[in-house]
């Protein structure tokens, strides 16, 4: 499941489509596009992203805490996954 960056990105975008706002379907998305600010997801959908990261990549936020900035864009989330792999 946790392949290289392009594969992870494809998986992530597929997941984001399941939590998108009903009035803003996700078509194309840049790595730097801010998810909440651009209205693609609402701020509380971040919780779903946390859950996705915990379940898919076995990440644990208990020690580090949830940093909204690290979940703000696709690129930032992919960086977070990579950091967790090397930690």
């Amino acid at each position: 499941m946790a392949g290289d960056r392009p594969q992870r990105k494809a998986d992530l975008i597929q997941f984001l489509r399941t939590i998108q706002r009903p009035d803003r379907p996700i078509e194309e998305i840049d790595e730097d596009q801010r998810l909440v600010e651009s209205g693609l997801i609402d701020s509380l959908a971040l919780l779903q992203i946390v859950l996705y990261l915990e379940q898919t990549y076995d990440m644990d936020f208990r020690e580090t805490g949830v940093d909204p900035a690290a979940l703000s864009a696709v690129g930032a989330i992919l960086d977070l996954i990579e950091r967790s792999k090397t930690a």
């Binding site: 489509r17 399941t18 939590i19 998108q20 706002r21 009903p22 009035d23 379907p25 600010e37 609402d42 701020s43 509380l44 959908a45 919780l47 779903q48 946390v50 859950l51 915990e54 936020f61 208990r62 020690e63 805490g65 949830v66 940093d67 909204p68 900035a69 690290a70």
Partner: protein, 465 residues
């Protein structure tokens, strides 16, 4: 039809003035805009912060003159450097986060708040005759609720490894912001502000125009408050009331009806209930736009504090739009930590715990700190009078948010479609539902001597019981 369209275009052009390319180019070409680089702007904010800190201290000193014996100018003069020292210590903790003792590193926010509670305990335990040092301690403790959440954001930056390499100047300006505000940090802390800071003249011009737009909007909301006070409430203190010869609707304020000061019909009571929500929203929007407007003028193009909450279609959406930075505070300091740590096996329980941690525990705790004068003076009856009914308000709010979140979660992922006419009707129904929910729970938030049960009785009377 054409007129309606051109009118709409004109309104759009005014409301989107910060996106007007010609205007942007003109503002950007001003010498002042080029001169005001991020460093210069932050320098101005830093100097302003020192002034704002001192002014705040003197302001907080004033109500304590009646309670404390040593009330000379010495108290604020001694408290200011001590307070500055405390803030600096907090800054050092953030920038050298990894060197902190392990228990502090694990629970930085708890450690920070412990400092405040230790101070309060020391004040409670010392006799009033203790003299100047007690006054100084009280002044510092009174100033801390304003700083605790701001310092909390600074420590959070440290915890996330983003504070290293930043200077004290980078932080002090949002700890004692010249744009004022409540205990809630508008613009949060360094992490968020630095992300939104304009680095080029063009970005600064855009931010400045967006700030001016918010300041104009703030003025409009102040004007709306004046109109509401004069035409709806016919408030005797309102300058418009006399101007229109007292021909306002004369709807009493909700607390006057609830307290039994005036008799009102069933319909008037309901109208007062909804107008109270509009009144509160206008106040928070007017003030929030001022804070954020100033922040944007200094190049920090941050989110608005209030964004059309009266058009929200769900409870969670209203909560998100009404007082954005308060919601962010509760989410970052209470919701996320609970969500990350508790009930990880059960999604619903996990969400329920996190919602209650934020909207109930966090909300109550925030307001406990806000009632600092009663808290530090140990005036328990007054404290209970302020906070008792709020317990019920927060419980209802938490339940509302939880169920709204569950509902929203079900709808996520579905692409919206449907008949336009029906969709508009459903939208209106949802907006009305949100207004009614917040207007009703507001009964436990209005200033009144009524008990929790007394307010519940008033609620039932609205439904004819």
């Amino acid at each position: 039809m054409m007129k309606v369209k051109s009118c709409r275009d004109a309104v759009r052009a005014i409301s989107q003035l910060h996106e007007n390319e010609k205007l942007l180019a003109w503002v950007q070409s001003r010498r002042m805009v080029a001169w005001l680089t991020p460093i210069r702007r932050r320098q101005a904010l830093f100097l302003g912060a020192l002034l704002a800190g001192m002014m705040g201290l003197l302001h907080r000193h004033a109500p304590w003159r009646d309670y404390l014996t040593a009330t000379t100018w010495l108290a604020p003069a001694a408290a200011m450097p001590l307070l500055l020292g405390l803030v600096y210590l907090c800054y050092l903790s953030a920038t050298h986060f990894r060197r902190l003792p392990a228990p502090v590193r694990r629970r930085p926010q708890l450690s920070l708040h412990m400092v405040f509670w230790l101070m309060v305990a020391a004040i409670w335990m010392t006799p009033e005759e203790a003299g100047l040092w007690r006054t100084v301690l009280a002044l510092i403790a009174l100033s801390l609720p304003y700083l605790l959440w701001r310092c909390g954001y600074m420590l959070m930056s440290g915890q996330r490894g983003r504070a290293a390499g930043t200077s004290f100047r980078d932080h002090l300006f949002y700890l004692w912001p010249i744009w004022g505000g409540t205990n809630t940090p508008a613009g949060k802390g360094w992490d968020y502000l630095s992300q939104c800071e304009a680095q080029s003249a063009q970005a600064y011009a855009r931010s400045g125009l967006a700030g001016i737009k918010l300041l104009i909007l703030s003025g409009l909301w102040e004007l709306s408050l004046l109109l509401l006070g004069g035409l709806v409430y016919a408030d005797a203190k309102n300058s418009l009331t006399a101007l229109v010869g007292g021909y306002g609707l004369g709807i009493p304020r909700l607390k006057r009806i609830a307290n039994g000061e005036v008799a009102a019909s069933w319909l008037t009571t309901w109208a007062s209930l909804y107008f109270e929500l509009v009144w509160d929203t206008l106040i928070i929007a007017a003030r929030g736009h001022q804070w954020i407007g100033v922040l944007r003028l200094f190049g920090f193009n941050v989110f608005r504090n209030t964004y059309k909450p009266l058009l929200a279609e769900s409870i969670i959406d209203f909560w998100n739009r009404y007082y954005y930075y308060f919601k962010e505070l509760l989410v970052e300091f209470f919701f996320f930590p609970t969500y990350a740590r508790c009930f990880r096996k059960s999604l619903r329980l996990r969400m329920l715990a996190a919602v209650f941690a934020a909207a109930f525990v966090g909300n109550m705790y925030y307001h406990l700190l806000q009632a600092k004068n009663d808290l530090i003076a140990g005036q328990w009856a007054e404290l209970w009078g302020h906070l008792g009914p709020r317990l019920f308000y927060c419980a209802l709010l938490s339940l509302g948010i939880y169920f709204s979140m569950l509902r929203q979660q079900k709808q996520r992922g579905k692409v919206g479609a449907g008949k336009a006419g029906m969709a508009d009707f459903r939208k209106l129904r949802r907006i009305a539902g949100v207004w009614t929910f917040f207007s009703l729970i507001n009964l436990w938030d209005i200033r009144s001597s009524l008990t929790i049960l007394g307010r519940a009785r008033f609620l039932f009377s609205l439904f004819g019981f």
